[in-house]
């Protein structure tokens, strides 16, 4: 097992993030790209989210295209589903493609403290994944396991800055190890704030995944950019770079790139 600690990248990105944060002025910001948000409104309440994610890991190439459909029962209670399309190939061999493990989720905001131009919200979430992805092919595009993730999402969003964080414990079946996900980040706008929105947001986010049993920790930094083009549509892109990656040398992540959109339909 090899541990990779790319601390120079970490320091550079934190420095860039800090500068962006300081120069951004007093404006509102958009939803985070990788981290969960406790604000179940607007594009995060009644929209469809999809993104293409390209992962290059050792000799494995993965293309992931999930479609996420949330629906607000109330402003505090949301349910939804995730259908991921996956294409995976190893050693440049023929790729296996198809539907991966589908999931249903529910979120409930149990704490909300609003003030003038600011809000602090905390929600509880549960996500149930089903083994719908094929496992009888090589490489497998499903996990073959039922997985239940329970966790909390918190966010403090003001017109000056926004900080987001989430963590959750993922219970697995079929002999797979459980894991703990932990993410946090913030984002700032580059354009003057207005409604209907017309903004470019920059965000600096961190995503983590600790796998029990293997005692393996994977921690990524994820700078991202987002363009909100009016009330109903948003485009976003980002890259995840490893800061800590406890994997075999041949499985180390080379890059993970995301390009996506969110469209408000409800």
């Amino acid at each position: 097992m090899v541990k990779t600690h790319n601390f120079p990248i970490f320091h550079i990105l934190v420095f860039i993030g800090s500068i962006l944060f300081l120069i951004s002025g007093i404006r509102a910001q958009g939803p985070p790209v990788y981290v969960q948000t406790p604000i179940l409104l607007g594009l995060d309440g009644g929209g469809v989210r999809t993104f293409g994610k390209l992962i290059k890991k050792g000799n494995v190439n993965i293309y992931l295209q999930p479609v996420v459909v949330p629906y607000n029962i109330t402003a505090k209670f949301q349910m939804g589903g995730i259908a991921p399309f996956i294409s995976k190939s190893v050693n440049e061999m023929e790729a296996q493609t198809g539907l991966g493990d589908m999931a249903l989720f529910a979120k409930y905001v149990f704490f909300q403290k609003d003030g003038k131009g600011k809000t602090f919200r905390v929600l509880a979430r549960v996500k149930q994944s089903f083994p719908t992805g094929k496992t009888n092919v090589t490489p497998a595009i499903g996990t073959g396991s039922y997985q239940t993730l329970t966790g909390l999402v918190a966010g403090y969003v003001t017109t000056k800055f926004g900080v987001y964080g989430d963590f959750g414990y993922n219970y697995t079946s079929a002999g797979l190890p459980d894991n703990l996900v932990y993410d946090f980040g913030f984002s700032v706008p580059l354009l003057p704030q207005q409604y209907p929105p017309n903004q470019i947001n920059l965000s600096l986010e961190f995503t983590g995944n600790y796998i029990f049993g293997k005692s393996s920790n994977n921690f990524f930094v994820a700078p991202a950019i987002q363009y909100i083009a009016g009330r109903r549509v948003l485009f976003e892109t980002g890259v995840q770079l490893p800061l800590i990656e406890d994997v075999e040398p041949g499985q180390k992540t080379k890059f993970m790139v995301l390009l996506g959109t969110r469209i408000l339909i409800f």
């Binding site: 939803p31 409104l41 607007g42 402003a75 131009g117 969003v157 926004g162 704030q193 009330r231």
Partner: protein, 106 residues
């Protein structure tokens, strides 16, 4: 008895005219309603608020200032908006209603 019915009918008629005569003067005063909305900190989440507000009976148009946390409702001619309706819809949109005020007409 007949006289009593005639007198009562006349009084009811007068009362109706009086009530109808009051309404236009109220709407003349309140052409706009300003609503402070707490928790409004991001433009991307204001869409639901706009959608709920435009559904309030008597609302002609909605303007949202995220920076000030302020929603301005333009009232349809001859209509009155109930403050309770405004508060209810702001809560349904996921925010906390604050002070409601009536600025002078433009």
């Amino acid at each position: 008895m007949k006289k009593l019915i005639v007198i009562l009918s006349f009084l009811v008629f007068l009362g109706t005219v009086h009530i109808k005569a009051q309404s236009p003067s109220d709407t003349l005063v309140h052409k706009k309603v300003e609503v402070n909305v707490d928790g409004l900190s991001c433009p991307f989440c204001a869409y639901g608020l706009e959608k709920k507000a435009i559904g309030i009976a008597g609302v002609d148009s909605v303007k949202i200032d995220v920076e000030k946390g302020l929603m301005t409702l333009k009232v349809k001619d001859g209509k009155v908006i109930a403050e309770d309706d405004i508060r209810k819809q702001v809560k349904k949109a996921g925010f906390t209603p604050g002070e409601i005020s009536y600025p002078d007409p433009d």
